[in-house]
């Protein structure tokens, strides 16, 4: 156990088995919900054959059953995984990608995929990669223009322009 302790002293963060617990519980809740809703719809036999909830009901039940075993194996059992799920520095790195991604999708909602991609790539390069403004904006612009040409012009697949539609003046 001494080896275990020294690792935990170095790396702090939430233990893997706790994450296992929450994920299994969340899945189980989902499974129960699926089973319950299917039961409401009619999981039994009708005049014209199996009801619409017939198949998903058993899916829900199987999810719950699998989760019970997972909980028993990885949470209650003595061999549960006490190693760190994700260390704080690692989590920070993951969040430096995840949070800008969420912000990106929000921006796209208003400004569309082209302007959104430009801002996202340029912003990410400036704040995460510490590049200069000129270089970052030009790479973002190159990608945005290339996708515009590829989708709108060559393949005629229109992309989302955003609720504010800043590119409306281009006529696409």
């Amino acid at each position: 156990m001494s080896q275990m302790d020294s690792i935990e002293a170095e790396e702090t963060g939430i233990a893997t088995w706790k994450v296992e617990l929450w994920v299994a519980l969340a899945l189980m809740l989902l499974g129960a919900l699926v089973a319950y809703k299917s039961w409401e719809l009619g999981a039994g036999w009708r005049d014209d054959g199996p009801g619409p909830g017939y198949f998903p009901f058993y899916i829900g039940v199987l999810i719950c059953a699998a989760c019970v075993v997972i909980l028993a194996r990885s949470v209650v059992s003595a061999q549960r995984d006490t190693s760190v799920f994700v260390t704080t520095p690692q989590l920070k790195l993951v969040l430096t990608v995840l949070l800008p991604t969420v912000a990106f999708v929000m921006v796209v909602q208003f400004l569309g995929l082209y302007v959104g991609s430009l801002l996202f790539i340029a912003g990410f390069m400036v704040w995460v990669g510490h590049y200069g403004w000129v270089k970052s904006v030009s790479i973002g612009a190159i990608v945005a223009v290339l996708t515009f040409l590829m989708f709108e012009v060559w393949f005629k697949v229109p992309l989302f322009k955003g609720s504010l539609n800043p590119l409306g003046f281009l006529g696409y």
Partner: protein, 509 residues
Amino acid sequence: MTEIASLFHGFAVVLSPFNLLLMMIGIVLGVIIGVLPGLGGANGVAILLPLTFSMPPTSAIILLSCIYWGALFGGAITSILFNIPGEPWSVATTFDGYPMGQQGRAGEALTAAFTSSFVGALFAVLMITFIAPLVAKFALQFGPPEFFSVYLLTFCSFVGMGKGSPMKILASMMLGFALAAVGMDTVTGQLRLTFGLPDLMRGFDFLIAVIGLFGIGEILLSMEEGLAFSGSAARINPKVVIETWKKLPRYWVTSIRSTLVGCWMGITPGGATPASFMSYGMAKKMSPRGANFGKGEIEGVIAPETAAHAAGTSALLPMLALGIPGSPTAAVLLGGLLIWGLQPGPLLFVEQKDFVWGLIASMYLGNIAGLVVVLTSVPLFAAILRVPFAIIAPIIIAICAIGAYTVHNAMLDVWYMVGFGIIGYVFKKLDYPLAPLVLAVVLGDRAEDSFRQSMLLSQGSLTILWSNWLVGSISTLAMLLLLWPLLARGLQMLKDAVGGSRAAPEHRG
């Protein structure tokens, strides 16, 4: 030998300038996708799928399948030069490929990897050419119970043959089925599991799941490791290629064994990744130089690459012949068939000869073209990885978002993609496998339909799955595979008990 005639007809279809151009574009794009972290065969094809909506189906499948071959080749480049597997199936290639690169034998390792990939794929394509039509002909007599038993076999073999906890495989797969059930019930037309939300009426598209789980999830995972690429120089000259080719025939036993492992794992949905590990493990055990494995043994590159490529290719056999894909990428291609208006299944060989044989012919040509492309332009592709992650990551995420949007022209799908990305990250870290989830989302509706039709035929009795020798043997095989972990443990215990004290010190989990 009608297959040969059909195949030549296929070559005639492929050898139009437009299709050849698409083939080259596909290979190059595929290698780039294979090299980049976060973009792989499955989500690369998923992102590009909407661009093919307006193409003729044959040209579209040639483009997309060539992306797949390219991605299979590309994975090896990063494994050998940077010790970073670009694709999960090239993890086993890093074990010996990277040490070889460090010793200045990168050219030799790359040549061996590409050539054995090619050999593996070639055998798999030969097998598809001659076996797939037979399987399809046989499957024409299938009714709903037979089809359901094949679905059952597919999913049971995931649980039984998969690495890791069978319960996690089951949970992940059932989650996929649950996601597939959301939306309109295809039989009764009733809305299911929508909770009154109009946005859920469309259900979840598996392409979104693929882009999120494999694309965004993978980026988050590679970010965690704080990527700093440092690789050995990539130089391949004709002399190294010729010298390596002279050496390769010595390892014919390994090649044949790895091809067989790969083909088997590809047809049953084990997939390329477990095939590569299994093949590496077997080569290590059986090779006279097994002790040197992990220190830069060329055989340790040949074995996983041959198997991965053979598995990746033969995963298309059940997709073509039965309409049941053997891997996530094959599943995406199957989704493409539906979008192009083709009905997957055994009738494809009868009704869409141009399409099927064009695809098979393009497998031969695509792999030859792929081999030439990668052997001649490795340094170019390796240069992509020297672009810093802070530039590559946002570009890949933006491409994923565009890909997710174009599937249904819906912004909500882009949000789903982010959600699937987080699920993918957590599931990967906890060893919940993603492939069964994706396959269940793809096949959910069709598996359910065949199940309900079977139940209608039998008035709700499961005995219909054993009603004749054909469906009975498939169902029995499915049950055997499902229970295989338990059976194997039972056999082991029996052996231990018989072997007595001699086997006692050896503990097996």
